[in-house]
C-alpha cells in the first residue's frame, strides 16, 4: 500500500509542494554560507514572513503585493542580522538564536493583538497565491499530474535554483561573494570590501528565506498558525550543508526532505503512531547528516595524502 502511494503522481506532486519552503530556505542558507556566514536565523525569518505574509496580503488585498512586502521585510531582517554580526561583532550563532527567539514570541503577540486569536489567523482575510496549471504539460500523463497544478511559488522556487546558480557562478557579485567566503583577506587585498559583500549576501539570504516563509501561509496553507515553520529553517541549513552549499546540490537534498515530509503526511492516514510519523523529516535530517559526515570523513582521509 505504501509503495503504491509513493509511486503515485499525487505523492510526487505533494513532494514538490513540501519541498518548496525548504528549497527557498536552502538557497538562502547557501548564499549566506558562500559569503562565510552561517545563517541560522532562517527559521525566525521564515516564521516572521509566514505571519506578515498573511497580514500584508490582507492589507493590500493582493497576494503579489503581499509577497513583495514580505520579501522586503525578509531582506530587512537579513540586514539586521548582518548589522549585529558585522558591525556590533556579535557571534553569528548567538545573533541568530536571538532572532529566532524573538520570532517565536513576537509572532504570537502580534497575531493576538491584530486578530484576537492565539493560534490561527483564520479571521484575517488574506489572499494566498494561486495554483496554476501549465497548458501543454498538464495533459501529459503522470508528468502532468506531478508538475502541473502547483502553487506559483513552487515554480518560482525551481526557477530560483537556476537563478541563484547563475548569480553565484556567473555574475561579478557572486564571484566576490565566493571569494570573500573562502578567503576574506585575499578579497580585501584586491580592494573588495568584505563587509559590504557580506551585508549584501545576508540581505539576499533574508529575501529568499522570506519567500519560503510566505509560501507556508500563502500557498501550502492559507492561514498562519503559530510555530508553523516547524524547524524547516534548520532542516534547510542541513540540506544546504549536505549539498555542499551549492544551489543544485541543495536542491537535490531538499527534495529528499520534501519527500520525507510528504511521506509523513501519507502515513498519517494509516494507523501508525502519529508522534513517530511526525518525526520522520527530522529523523531523515539526522540520518542524512550522519551519512554525509561519514562520507566526507572518508573523502578527507583519502585527500590527506595530497601533495
Amino acid at each position: 500500500m505504501i509503495v503504491d502511494a509513493i509511486l503515485s503522481p499525487e505523492f510526487l506532486n505533494a513532494t514538490l509542494r513540501a519541498t518548496t519552503p525548504i528549497l527557498f530556505a536552502t538557497l538562502a542558507a547557501a548564499v549566506a554560507a558562500k559569503c562565510g556566514i552561517i545563517n541560522m536565523a532562517l527559521e525566525g525569518i521564515m516564521l516572521f514572513s509566514a505571519l506578515f505574509g498573511v497580514l500584508f496580503s490582507a492589507m493590500f488585498q493582493s497576494g503579489i503585493l503581499g509577497l513583495l512586502a514580505t520579501m522586503v521585510m525578509g531582506g530587512l531582517i537579513g540586514l539586521l542580522l548582518a548589522f549585529f554580526v558585522l558591525k556590533l561583532k556579535t557571534d553569528e550563532i548567538l545573533a541568530a538564536i536571538a532572532i529566532n527567539l524573538i520570532a517565536n514570541g513576537a509572532t504570537i503577540l502580534i497575531l493576538l493583538m491584530l486578530s484576537g486569536d492565539r493560534g490561527v489567523s483564520s479571521s484575517v482575510k488574506s489572499v494566498p497565491l494561486p495554483r496554476i496549471s501549465i497548458p501543454v504539460i498538464e495533459n501529459i500523463p503522470y508528468l502532468g499530474a506531478v508538475i502541473s497544478n502547483q502553487n506559483v511559488l513552487t515554480y518560482v522556487s525551481l526557477i530560483m535554483v537556476v537563478v541563484v546558480h547563475i548569480f553565484l557562478y556567473k555574475m561579478p557579485l557572486g564571484l566576490r561573494i565566493r571569494a570573500v567566503g573562502e578567503n576574506k583577506n585575499a578579497a580585501e587585498s584586491v580592494g573588495i570590501s568584505s563587509k559590504k559583500i557580506q551585508y549584501i549576501a545576508l540581505v539576499i539570504s533574508g529575501v529568499l528565506a522570506s519567500m519560503g516563509g510566505f509560501f507556508l501561509s500563502g500557498g501550502y496553507m492559507t492561514y498562519f498558525t503559530t510555530g508553523m515553520t516547524a524547524g524547516r529553517g534548520f532542516i534547510a541549513l542541513a540540506a544546504s550543508f549536505m549539498g555542499g552549499n551549492t544551489p543544485v546540490g541543495g536542491f537535490s537534498v531538499s527534495l529528499l526532505f520534501g519527500a520525507s515530509s510528504a511521506l509523513s503526511n501519507i502515513l498519517q492516514l494509516g494507523n501508525w503512531p502519529y508522534e513517530i510519523i511526525q518525526m520522520l523529516p527530522y529523523i531523515t535530517t539526522i540520518i542524512g547528516l550522519a551519512i554525509y559526515s561519514y562520507v566526507r570523513m572518508k573523502k578527507r582521509q583519502k585527500l590527506s595524502d595530497r601533495g
Partner: protein, 515 residues
Amino acid sequence: MSHNVLEMKNIMKIYPNGIVAVEDVTLELQKGEIHALLGENGAGKSTLMKVLFGLESPEQGQIFLNGEEIQLKSPLEAIKKGIGMVHQHFMLVSSLTVAENIVLGIEPKKSIFVDMNKAIDISKELAKKYNFDIDVTQRVEELPVGIKQKVEILKALYRGADILILDEPTAVLTPQETEELFVQLKKLKELGHTLIFISHKLDEIKSICDRATIMKSGKSKGTYKVSEISTNEMSKLMVGRDVVMTFDKKPLSLKETALKVRNLIVEGTTGVVRVDDLSFDVKQGEIFGIAGVEGNGQGHLVEALTGLTKKYCGDILIFDQNISNKNINEIRKLKVSHIPEDRMTLGCAANMNIMDNLLSNQYQSSEYSGRFMLKLKKIEERVNKLIKEYLIKCKSYKQNVGMLSGGNIQKVVVAREFSTEPKIIIANQPTRGIDVGAASFIRQRIIEFRDAGCAIVLISADLNEVFELSDRLAVMYKGKFSGVFTDVKKLTEEELGKYMLGIKKDEVLEGIIYE
C-alpha cells in the same frame, strides 16, 4: 639626482594591543629603483608596508606620492594610486582559477555577467607581456608555490601597480625559481616600475637591489647604497652584533640506526608516483641532508615519514618498529619531531595563542595535565622559558600566533618541535623566512641536537644550509636520489646543481644504506 616617487615620513604604527611596530620611520623611493627593506623578524617591515598599502592606518606620519600628500584608508585607495602589494603569506582564493584571481574585483563584464573568456584573454596577455609562463585556466590550489607567487605579482600588475611591494617573495622559492623571479623583477624595473623588496637573504639583496633601508625594532637605521655596504655590515646593523655564519661541529660519531627506509614508493592524489623506490638509513648523531628542486617528492617523503599519509608501499622503520600501522600521535611518541614546510597550514593554529601552540604536542603528557585539569603554573613556566630561549618577539604568550610576524610564527613552530627531547627530527625548510640572526640560532640548535645523538633529516631548498649542516647529502630528483655524497665539503655548488636538475645521475648510490 632622480626624484622621489614616494616618501613615507615619520611613520608610527601602534597596534591595538599596544605593540609599537613602527616608530618614526622615513622611507624614500626613487623612480625605477629596487629598494630593499631589511630587518630582523618583527622589526616592522611588513607593518610599514601594510601602512603603505592602506591596510593599517598609521598613528602618525605622512605619505607623499610624487610630492603630493596622500591619504590611504584602504587597499582600494592604494591600488587606485598605483601601489600594489604581494603579501608575505599568499592572498589567493584557492578554489578559483588563476584568471579569476587576477580579475577579482574588477571583472570584465558582458551585460550583467562576468566575461570569463575576456578574463582569460586579459590574463594570458598580461602573463605574456611580463614573460610569465602560466596556465591561467588552472585552479590556484593546484599550483606550486613558485607559480602562486607569480599570480600574486600579475594580480598587482593588472591593477596598474607602478610601485610594487614584495614582502619576502623568495622565502618560499627554490634557488632556480628565485633566479627566474629576479629576471622578471629586472624586467619590471626596466619598464619603469619601482619595487620594494623584502628578504632575509642578503646575497639576494646584493644581487638585485639598488638601495636598502635597514630597520631594527621598529626604527630605521638609515638607507644605504647596496654597492657601498657589505653583507656583514648589513647584518650587523640589523641585529646589532656580528652574526655567526660558520658553525662548530663535533667530529661525527654515529650510534644506532634511527630511521630505516626500504623500497619506499609514495603515490600522490592523482596516483602519480611521487617517491620512487627510495631506500636509506639515518643514524643517531648525523644530519642527513636532502637537497633538490621543490616538487621532486620531498614533500611526499616527509608525509610518509611523519604518518601524514599512509598511501605508500615499502617499509619505514623507526628504531626497528614499522610505522605502517601507527598514526601521527603514535609516531610522535617514538620521539619524532616534525617541522613542516608550510607553517600556516600544518605548522600552527593561527587563531590560537602562543601558549596553546607551543603546548599542542604536550598537553597529553602527565607533566602538564593532571587527572582533570591542565597544570597551568607549570605550563606557563615552560612557555615563558621557550619564548625567551627562542627569542620569540611577542607581548605575552596570550597573543594569537596569527598576529606575530612571519618569522616569529616559524620560531614558535621550531620551539615546539625542539622542546620535546626528540630523537629524530624531520626538518622541512626549518629556517624559511627567518632573519639571519635567528636562522643561525636554529642551525646552531640543529647541530647541538646532532652532537647530542639525535638523528636529523634536513630538507632544504637553501643550498647554504644543506652544505653547512649535512654530514651526508642526498639529492632528490623526480622521486629518486640522483646522487649521495658522504663528503659534503668536497662538493661544489655547480656539481650539486647538475644533480638537482637531473643532468647528472649516479646509478649506484654508495653510502645511502649502512651495514
